[in-house]
Amino acid sequence: MMKQQTLFQGKLTKQKDLFIPFIVAGDPHPDKTIQYALRLQEAGADVLELGVPYSDPLADGPVIQKAARRALDAGMSLRKAVEMVPELRKAGLNIPVVIFTYYNPVLQYGHEAFIDALEENGVEGLLIPDLPLEESEDLNERTKEKDIELISLVAPTSEERIKRIAEQARGFLYCVSSLGVTGERKEMAPETLSFIEKVKEHSSVPVAVGFGISSNDQVQLMRKHADGFIIGSKIVKLIESSLEVEKSGDEQEGLRHFSDEVNELVQA
C-alpha cells in the first residue's frame, strides 16, 4: 500500500528506513537526556521516542524498568517529560518527538490538559502502550484536533485486529515483532517477517518494527523488510555502558562511546 503523508509536520522527509530510538526521559537525569537525544539525532534518528518513567510499566522488560526507576528517583514525571521537549529543541533537536507514556499518568493529568500541554510544548506524537484501540476514542479525537499523531501498535496476536488497527493508524504503526515485553532478543522468529508483510499490506502509514532489536544484523533485516525500526532496550543499555565509561573517564568520553556504539548498531 502506498503510504500516506504523516502529520509529523513536515519534519519527517522520508517514509522508509526510519530509525526510531527510545530513551527514558530523565535517565539518569534530565541534562543527560538532552545529550543522548542529540547524539541519537547525529546518528541518524528520524523520530525520538521519549519514554515517561512509570512505577508499573506492564509492557517493559527489566532494562527499561531499571531506567524508569533511575528517572523516577531523579524526579521525572509526565509533566516534566513534556516540558523537556522545548529544551530539546533549544539544544538543537529537530526530529519529531513522540511521548511514550502509560495511561494512568495521562488520566491523572486530564485528557484535555495533557493534549494542550503536548501542543504547547511542540510534541509531535503520543504512544500509550496500555491503551488499545477500544479505549482510545477520546484521545484519538483530541490528538487529531491538535495535529498530534497517536501511534498505534499491532502485535503478532492481533490477527483479525491487524486490519482494523492498521487502517486507522497515524504517524507510524508500531509493529511489535514478537510476544513479550520490551528487551533484547537474540533471534528473530521466522514468522516475524510474514507478520510484518501482513501488517504492511493494511497500513497506510510506515510500519516500524520494535521489541527486541539489538544487533546490526537485525537492523539490516528490518531496513529490508519494514519501513522503520524502533530500538529501546538496547539504546538504554548503551546509555548504561556510556555511564560506566564516564565513571572511569569524563563525560565527553562517555558520550563518544555512546555515539560509536549507536553508529555501529544502526550502520547500513
Partner: protein
Amino acid sequence: GRYGDFGGKYVPETLMAPLEELESALDEAMQDEDFLKQYNEELKEYAGRPTPLTYADKLTKELGGAEIYLKREDLLHTGAHKLNNAIGQALLAKRMGKDKIIAETGAGQHGVASATVAAKLGLSCKVFMGEEDIRRQELNVFRMKLLGAEVISVSSGNGTLKDATNEAIRYWVANCEDHFYLIGSVVGPHPYPRMVRNFQRIIGDETKEQMTRDIDRIYACVGGGSNAIGMFYPFLEDEVELVGIEAAGKGVDTPEHAATLTKGTPGVIHGSLTYLMQDENGQIVEPYSISAGLDYPGIGPEHANLFKTKRVRYESITDDEALDAVKRMSRAEGIIPAIESAHAIAQAIKEAKEMSKDQAIVINVSGRGDKDMATLMEHFTEEGLQ
C-alpha cells in the same frame, strides 16, 4: 466490560486478542451444562462446598444486638474462598486446551490455590511472587513447591503483590498463546472481574439458600474484593445493606493503609480503570496493611462502581481493630479467622451491638487464620492473651 465508569481493558495490544479469546471461551463455558456440572462437582466433592453458615450464638449474646451468622469460607480446601475461583478458571483453562497456568500471589493464598488446582487437574503452574513476599511467606512458598508449582521470584518494584502481578502480566504477554493467566481477584482487564465474580458468587448464592430468615446487613472485607463480590453479588437486587471493609492499616490519616476507596482516586491499574492509591503524577503508591491479602493498591472495578453508586457502603478497619477481632472471634466461637476476614468481623462487631435483637447480619469469614500465626504471635504478648 464496564461497571459504570469503571473496568475496561487497559493492556498492551498483545493481550487484546487473548482477552477476546478468553471472553468468548468463558461465555461458552457458562452456557455449557457439562462445564457447570463439573465446576459444581469439584466444589462439592473436592473443595468441600457447601461451606456452613454458622450461627455465632456466643458472640451474638455478648454483643446483645443483631443475630450474627458466619459464612465459613475458612473451611474450604486450602483455607480460603480463593479456591472457588481457582477451580473455575483452571477448568476453563483446560477447556480452552491450555495446560500451563500462571498466577500472581502476595501472601501466597492464591498461589497455593492455583498450585492446588493445577496439581488436581494436571496442569503446569508458575506462580509469580515478589521477593520480599517470598521472604515473609516462606511457608506458603514451600507449600506451592510441594504441590509441584514453580515459584518465580519477582525483584522489580518493592517485590510485593503489585510487582508480582506486573510480572505475571509481562510473562503472559510473552506466552499468551499457550498459557492461561489465573488472576486471583476481581481485578485485571475485562473479562477477569466478571469471570472471577462468576466463580465466587457461589458464596452469596449458598448464603441465600442457607439463611432461614431475613438478613439486614452483610459484611465482607475488600482487598481486590473477590470474596466481597462473591458474597454481595446475589444480593445486589435485594433489600439488604451491604458493607465492604477495607484495610485502614495504621490509620487512614497516615500514609500506611490500603483503604483504596476511602482514600484513593480513579486510575488504571493492572488493566482496569478503578480506584487506586497513587501520587499526583499517577505513580502507584505501595499500600500497607498487616493483612497481606488486603494490601493491594487497587480494587475491583465493580466495587468502584458500587461505591460510586452507593449500593455498597465501604468502611475501613485498622490493624489493631482487626487483631482484636481475631482474638474476640477465637474466644467467642472457637474460630480463628484470617486477619483479612477479621476486618469484616471488626466492623460487624461495631455495628451489631447498635442493632436490635430481631435483626440479623452475615459476616463472610473468607479464610482461616492459620496462615497468620506468625503475625499474631508477634502481636499478642503473653499478657495480651490472658
